[in-house]
Structure formats: structure tokens, C-alpha cells
């Protein structure tokens, strides 16, 4: 895969909540066409960082550049977002929700194509508040892909999915990568990050404590026979084994 110039540049980002620093001066770049993973224990600052990149939250300091300049008005025409937790307009069917959201964008994929892509055919006429957790995750993913975005933010997209549905989500992400889309992925599943991500940033207490490709991180931090050669070992070694919030 050809990695081009950076689509997102994050510079010295700071965010505080009630005096407590959630994100503490982090900087990184996301190459266009890559799958960029952000990992970290609960409360590390992942979601805050991603929501600032999405233009949902205002940073207290720092800059976000999109394609080399500050984000313009049409930024949200070009991005897709799947939030970790969200509700949708109630009493609308899955198909109606997708149709409603498709009207928000200048250009969008055909709703039927998104329904096929996210395996929503069986439930397209069900009310969106009467579907299972896994079906809901697939609908939220469908909403994120609806405008055929250049940049997609996926916040724990496979949480609550059964193995089949998870494989489906992974396949969709692979296809997006093949089409040259950029993906920002946060997840607690190390296997998922190891399989899908080109670059991984590990965050803890508002800082990026390590960054690199999965192979680089494993090679660097898993030396010796007592360290299993996988990303989970790297993660636990860097962030510790004690419980977080």
C-alpha cells in the first residue's frame, strides 16, 4: 500500500476538564491512506483526542491540520464518524435513519449499498431502537460510511459484536484501506489493532508513550522468551497490569 502525505497533523494538543488534564500536549501525524490505531487504558485520553480531531470538542491548546491547513466548513462532509456510544432518532427504521443521514451530505453512497455492506438487509425495516447491540454497531458503522468519507473515525467499532460480525467489520475496514481511505481506530482489542493498523500510538495519562507499526512495537518491546510476541504484551509492558478506572 502506498502511504502518501499526512492527512491529519496534531500539534501540541491540550485538553483539560475541570482543571484535570486529559490530553497533555501530544503531537502526531496520520498518513493518508493508513489505518492509524490509538490504544490506551481507560481514561488515557483516546476518546478526547479523537473527538478533538473530529471537531466535536474544542482543544484548550494546540492545532489540528487537515490536509495541511486548518479544518474548513466542509470538513464534516469529508469525514465519517462512529462514536463509541450514541443514540439515534427514535421511531425510525434502520433504512429511514440511513436515508435521513444521507440527505445531510452533498454526495453519498446509495443507501442500499450501505445496507448490503454492513449486512443490515434483514433488519432494514426494523425500528432502530428495537435492534440488538451488534446490529446497532453495524448500523452506526453504516452511518459513518454513508458519505463515502476520505477519513473515517471508528471508536471501538467491534465492541459487542459476535465473531462473525467482527470479521465483517474487519473486512469492511480492509476494503476501505484498499480504496485508499484513511482510518483512525480506537479499540481495546489488541488482536484487532495488530491485524488492521499500519501505525499504532499508545496513550497513557494524556501522553503518547509509544508509536510505531505493530511489527516495530513488538520487535522493540518483546525481546526474550518470557514475552509473547504480540501487541497485548507490548501494551501491558508499557501501561502496566494494574487496573484503571
Amino acid at each position: 500500500m502506498l502511504l502518501q502525505s499526512d492527512i491529519i497533523q496534531v500539534k501540541n494538543l491540550v485538553k483539560r476538564y475541570n482543571g484535570k488534564t486529559a490530553v497533555d500536549g501530544i503531537s502526531f501525524c496520520i498518513p493518508q491512506g493508513s489505518c492509524f490505531g490509538i490504544l490506551g487504558p481507560n481514561g488515557a485520553g483516546k476518546t478526547t483526542t479523537v473527538e478533538i480531531m473530529e471537531d466535536i470538542l474544542e482543544p484548550d491548546a494546540g492545532d489540528i491540520l487537515y490536509k495541511g491547513s486548518v479544518r474548513k466548513k466542509n470538513f464534516n462532509q469529508e469525514i465519517g464518524i462512529q462514536f463509541q456510544q450514541t443514540e439515534l432518532l427514535s421511531f425510525l427504521t434502520v433504512q429511514e435513519i440511513l436515508k435521513t443521514f444521507s440527505a445531510f451530505y452533498h454526495t453519498h453512497l446509495p443507501v442500499a449499498e450501505v445496507i448490503d455492506l454492513c449486512m443490515l438487509n434483514d433488519i432494514k425495516n426494523n425500528l432502530n431502537n428495537k435492534i440488538s447491540g451488534g446490529q446497532r454497531q453495524r448500523l452506526l458503522l453504516g452511518l459513518a460510511l454513508l458519505n463515502d468519507p476520505e477519513l473515517v473515525f471508528l471508536d471501538e467499532p467491534s465492541t459487542g459484536l459476535d465473531p462473525q460480525a467482527r470479521q465483517n467489520v474487519w473486512q469492511i475496514i480492509r476494503e476501505m484501506k484498499q480504496k485508499g481511505k484513511t482510518i483512525v481506530l480506537t479499540t481495546h482489542y489488541m488482536e484487532e489493532a495488530q491485524i488492521l493498523c499500519d501505525i499504532i500510538a499508545i496513550m497513557d495519562r494524556g501522553h503518547i508513550i509509544e508509536q510505531g507499526s505493530p511489527v516495530q512495537l513488538i520487535e522493540k518491546h518483546c525481546q526474550g522468551e518470557d514475552c509473547p510476541q504480540n501487541l497485548e504484551s507490548v501494551f501491558l509492558k508499557l501501561t502496566g497490569k494494574h487496573l484503571r478506572e
Partner: protein
């Protein structure tokens, strides 16, 4: 600004409202039940307003009604349609009711001189006392000292006066809760955050919410109006075209007020409290149930800050008095001005997530 986005949101909100059968049904049923209830209570001009207790009397074994033939009190009190006579067997049963304002005055049956008990703190009791005194005065006393004139033309029934108030009250509650409460809930559960992640602007979202709510309220008000009219045959002195504009502008103003309430906050409990804080004084001072004529000047002044006051004033001028749009221009101007003010404040304060 995109009409396509506004239309999509408008339609989505309409689907939500119509498919929420419980909420939709209640919006239609609630005002209809109130109108029906009051219609029955005030269906004739003989509705009793004062309660006169009489003891000792015998009551009908089945109905519990006082046997009129056993009453030995002035005939004028029995014949007065505005006085309801409530019988008691003993003094002890009856006096407790006077103390607790459950009856307005207690009269001893067949006693001479006419003996009664009245609670000095009861305004109705004081009025009934006057009627008791008047009942033993000969008509000749008033001759040459009083001149009675009849009102010309059709009389306005209480139900005709009340009906616009009930419809207006329903619109007020639906606007404040249906917009204010719903948007705060949507903010709390993340619906607004999801919309913020799309190209939808706050203006587009709020306009769609307003348009949907106004449409739904006008539709449900029309259903209630014509449904109630089948039973109560309201007197409509003005034109339906004119009254439509009053309801349209009034609803727009109240929905805009709801947007101000909904502009910030994620606590449904707080928004519930704020809406109650606004709606209850508005309901009592805007003449939904009774006129504030004769109240203190400050009460009348406070009443004027509520949009419902001007809404109901305009509606009643058309419905009860046959006024046209030029005659209610002051009310419409005030309502439009308030609408603009609420929209400016609501837009300035609006937050998708905070």
C-alpha cells in the same frame, strides 16, 4: 443553509411524533378530555356555584339527594339555580364541612329566627350569607331603588370562553415539553452529538424542530377543535382564516420559547423544573381558566410578559367577539416580536453537547 437537510430532519421528527402512539394519542386526548369535562360541568346556565348546607334533613335513600319537601327554608334559596343544597342529618356532621370550606354556609332547617353558621374566612360564605339575608327581604324593598338591564345579543357561554384557553394551554405544554424537554434528552443521550458530527447546522436542526412541532400542534389543535365542536357547538364569531394565523403565530412563539429552555443543559430534571417554573404561572396568569380582570395592577403587568396572554387575548377576540386581523394586530406584533427574541436567545445559547 440546506433545505434538503432541514426537510430530512423535519420528516424524521414528524415520523417520531406520529409513531409514538402514546404521546401522539395523549396530545389529542388530553385537551379533548378537559373540554369534555368542563363542557359537562358548565353545559347549562344552571351550574351551582355556592354550596348551602342544611340540617337536619332527610335524604333520598338511593340517590342521597335532599328531599325538597322536608326543607323548611326560604323559597328563594331553594329556587336559586346557583345554590346547591347539601343535606346533613346532624349539626356535628355539618359544621365540620363549614370549617373545612367544603360547604359555604350552614343553615338550620325550620328554625325561626333563621339560624346559620358561616366561616368568616370564606369569600363564598360571605356571598351566600348576603343571599340568605336577601331571601327574607320582601321584593317591594327594592322597587324604585334598583334598575335591571338585560344584555343585548347572544350570551357567551363559559365553555366558549374557556375553549381557546384549553387549546392554548395544550399548545403551551406541548411546545415547552415537546421541544424543550426532548432536545435536552437528545443532548443527554448523544443524539445531538451524532448530528453535530454531520454537516447539519444548529440553525437547520432548530428550524426543522420548530416547523415539525408547529405543524403537529396545529394539526392536533384542529382535531381537538372540530372534535369538540361536534359535541359543544362552539360559537365562532370571527373567521377561521384569522384564527388560524393567531394559532400559527402563537404556536411559533411558544415553540421558540421551548428552544430557549432547550438551548443548554443535559439534565432532564432541571429542564423539567424550569419548564414547570415557566408554565404554571403562565397558565394561571394568562387567563386560561379565569380572567385576571379586577386583579392587582402588578398581576396584570406580569401577565403581559407571557406570550400565552397575548395568544389567548387575540384568539378570544376572534372566536368570541368576531374581531378581524387588523383588530388583533397589537397581539400578533407582540407575539412575532417575542418569537424573534426567543429565536435570537435560543440560537445564541444553543450547544450540541453542553
Amino acid at each position: 443553509m440546506s433545505f434538503k437537510r432541514m426537510w430530512a430532519l423535519f420528516m424524521a421528527r414528524n415520523y417520531e411524533f406520529i409513531r409514538d402512539r402514546a404521546g401522539f394519542g395523549w396530545n389529542i386526548l388530553f385537551p379533548f378530555l378537559i373540554v369534555a369535562g368542563f363542557g359537562m360541568m358548565f353545559s347549562s346556565d344552571t351550574a351551582s356555584v355556592l354550596k348551602l348546607g342544611v340540617y337536619p334533613v332527610s335524604t333520598h335513600p338511593q340517590s342521597g339527594q335532599v328531599s325538597v319537601e322536608t326543607l323548611d327554608i326560604p323559597e328563594r334559596l331553594i329556587a336559586n339555580n346557583y345554590i346547591k343544597i347539601v343535606g346533613f342529618k346532624t349539626y356535628d356532621d355539618a359544621i365540620d364541612k363549614v370549617v373545612h370550606h367544603k360547604i359555604d354556609l350552614l343553615l338550620e332547617n325550620g328554625k325561626s329566627p333563621l339560624t346559620y353558621w358561616v366561616n368568616e374566612s370564606s369569600p363564598k360564605g360571605r356571598i351566600l350569607e348576603k343571599l340568605v339575608k336577601e331571601s327574607i327581604v320582601e321584593d317591594a324593598v327594592f322597587e324604585g331603588r334598583l334598575a335591571k338591564n338585560q344584555i343585548q345579543g347572544d350570551k357567551i357561554r363559559y365553555i366558549d370562553w374557556l375553549f381557546p384557553g384549553i387549546i392554548g394551554m395544550n399548545i403551551m405544554f406541548s411546545s415547552l415539553f415537546g421541544v424543550g424537554f426532548v432536545i435536552v434528552r437528545y443532548r443527554r443521550i448523544g443524539v445531538l452529538k451524532r448530528l453535530k458530527a454531520t454537516p447539519v447546522t444548529a440553525f437547520e436542526y432548530l428550524t426543522a424542530q420548530m416547523a415539525s412541532r408547529v405543524l403537529v400542534m396545529l394539526f392536533s389543535s384542529a382535531v381537538v377543535w372540530f372534535g369538540s365542536d361536534l359535541f359543544f357547538h362552539f360559537r365562532m364569531q370571527g373567521s377561521y382564516f384569522d384564527v388560524f394565523w393567531v394559532f400559527f403565530v402563537g404556536t411559533l412563539c411558544l415553540v421558540s420559547m421551548g428552544l430557549v429552555v432547550a438551548s443548554r443543559g443535559t439534565s432532564e430534571e432541571l429542564s423539567n423544573g424550569i419548564i414547570n417554573f415557566i408554565s404554571w404561572p403562565m397558565m394561571f396568569l394568562s387567563e386560561v381558566w379565569f380572567s385576571v380582570e379586577g386583579s392587582s395592577e402588578w398581576v396584570k403587568t406580569v401577565a403581559k410578559i407571557f406570550p400565552l396572554t397575548h395568544f389567548l387575548s387575540a384568539a378570544r377576540k376572534i372566536i368570541n367577539d368576531g374581531a378581524d386581523l387588523t383588530q388583533i394586530a397589537p397581539e400578533l406584533t407582540i407575539l412575532l416580536g417575542m418569537t424573534c427574541l426567543f429565536l435570537v436567545i435560543g440560537s445564541a445559547l444553543f450547544s450540541w453537547t453542553k
